[in-house]
């Protein structure tokens, strides 16, 4: 029911009668479900956003997977393994949500493997030390949560439901990261330096996770009107900074931003300029690990080809066997 039975895509602009009725449903906070009428642009926007989100979860397993075999204790190893497994699950919930819009899993995977699809720029940075696992949980999952909580109220039902499930699982991710940071920050001088170095490298890329500034964001307006998005990139970024800076100070760590200061009047932490050239470079494929990430995904897919083939062949044989027995 969730991907085969979709209505043929209808063509209509937003000011058509159907388009107006659709927008009225959105305004009334009704959820849109897979077989409901929707403007083509809404469908396309969602497919793009949900599949990019899914790809990000899948590629996001790689930088952390890098440390599973080298986690310092069994407790840390079990937690990291569970977290990386969760991220794989998040990718699968999201692929399933995208498929309800009429795109196949095979197409989506191919878009990722051929480099046509984008995923979050943050996962193209390397994990150089164990402290990076702490910084990723604390900052990257923290930023993801900030982005994802409003998506639980997204107008598209399957996406909103996937996000509710994901958000429930995310909070342990951030906590295990912050726990790693806490232990390092209270440890030896070397450990503290490791934690500081990780914060220095992950801080700016984490701020970039919220996407380009509102003034330059091409997709924001329509997404807000359709209630896919509820808050702008800049407002979510500010919320993240306000929540995170005191946590860093609690750890006794400094932020790599000389302009960071609390504005007493507004209560907000003001921060320096983000290097959007770097963001665009990394997104366009020229980050430190883009090639490595894509190669790892391609290899995993190719290495698994015989398993998929064998499973399908076995299933086909089972079906034939049963037909024969029934005859």
């Amino acid at each position: 029911m969730y991907s085969q039975a979709l209505n043929a895509p209808a063509l209509a602009t937003d000011d058509s009668e159907a388009g107006q009725r659709f927008q009225a449903r959105i305004e009334a906070e009704e959820r849109i479900e897979p077989n409901d009428w929707m403007p083509e642009a809404y469908r396309r926007t969602l497919i793009r956003q949900i599949s990019q989100h899914a790809h990000s979860e899948i590629v996001g397993m790689l930088p952390e997977g890098n440390w599973i075999t080298r986690a310092p204790t069994l407790r840390r190893k079990a937690a990291l393994l569970a977290k990386v497994q969760d991220e794989g699950g998040h990718g699968l919930y999201l692929y399933a949500a995208a498929e309800t819009l009429g795109v196949s899993r095979e197409e989506l995977v191919e878009q990722l493997l051929t480099g046509r699809a984008k995923y979050s720029s943050i996962f193209n940075y390397p994990t150089l030390s164990w402290a990076d696992i702490g910084a990723i949980g604390w900052l990257v999952d923290g930023a993801a949560i900030m982005n994802q909580i409003p998506l639980c109220r997204c107008s598209y039902g399957p996406y909103a439901r996937a996000m509710i499930r994901i958000c429930k699982e995310e909070s342990f991710h951030q906590r295990q990261g912050f726990e790693i940071m806490t232990v390092l920050a209270r440890g030896t001088d070397d450990q503290k330096a490791m934690a500081q170095d990780a914060l220095n490298r992950w801080w700016w890329p984490s701020l970039m996770m919220f996407g380009p500034p509102d003034a330059q964001s091409q997709h924001s307006d329509a997404s807000m009107r359709w209630k896919i998005k509820r808050f702008t990139n800049d407002s979510l970024r500010q919320k993240f900074v306000d929540a995170t800076v005191p946590q860093g100070h609690y750890l006794g760590l400094g932020f790599p931003d000389p302009e960071l200061r609390l504005n007493e009047a507004t209560g907000h932490w003001e921060f320096g300029a983000i290097d959007w050239d770097e963001f665009r470079r990394v997104l366009a494929g020229d980050g430190p690990c883009n090639r490595e990430r894509l190669t790892a995904r391609q290899r995993a897919h190719e290495d698994g080809a015989w398993v998929r083939e064998a499973a399908l062949a076995y299933a086909a044989k089972g079906r034939n066997g049963r037909t024969r027995a029934a005859a």
Binding site: M1, Y2, S3, Q4, A5, E33, N35, D36, W37, A82, Q85, D86, G89, L92, Y93, A96, E99, S104, R105, E106, V109, E110, L113, T114, A162, E169, R308, A311, L312, Y314, A315, G318
Partner: protein, 95 residues
Amino acid sequence: MAEPATPLWEVFIRARTGLAHRHVGSVHAADATLALQAARDVYTRRGEGLSIWVVPSDAITASDPTDKDMLFEPTASKIYRHPTFYEVPDEVDNM
């Protein structure tokens, strides 16, 4: 890269004894056994359930959203199907 499509299955989970199975999502798998395994890995990592059903997605027939009024509107006028439609004297409590 013409990858053959792996069938889609809808996953239903019984959270506790006494509750009905509830739709939680879908998985791709070559056959029912693998679908059950995938559903277990994807949807029950935190003790979400005691029992799983997997159903081939194309075996489900769904009502068409455009038939919503025809199918469900008629019940709106049949308020006499609800207990609140009937008057019970104040002196008679607990009915």
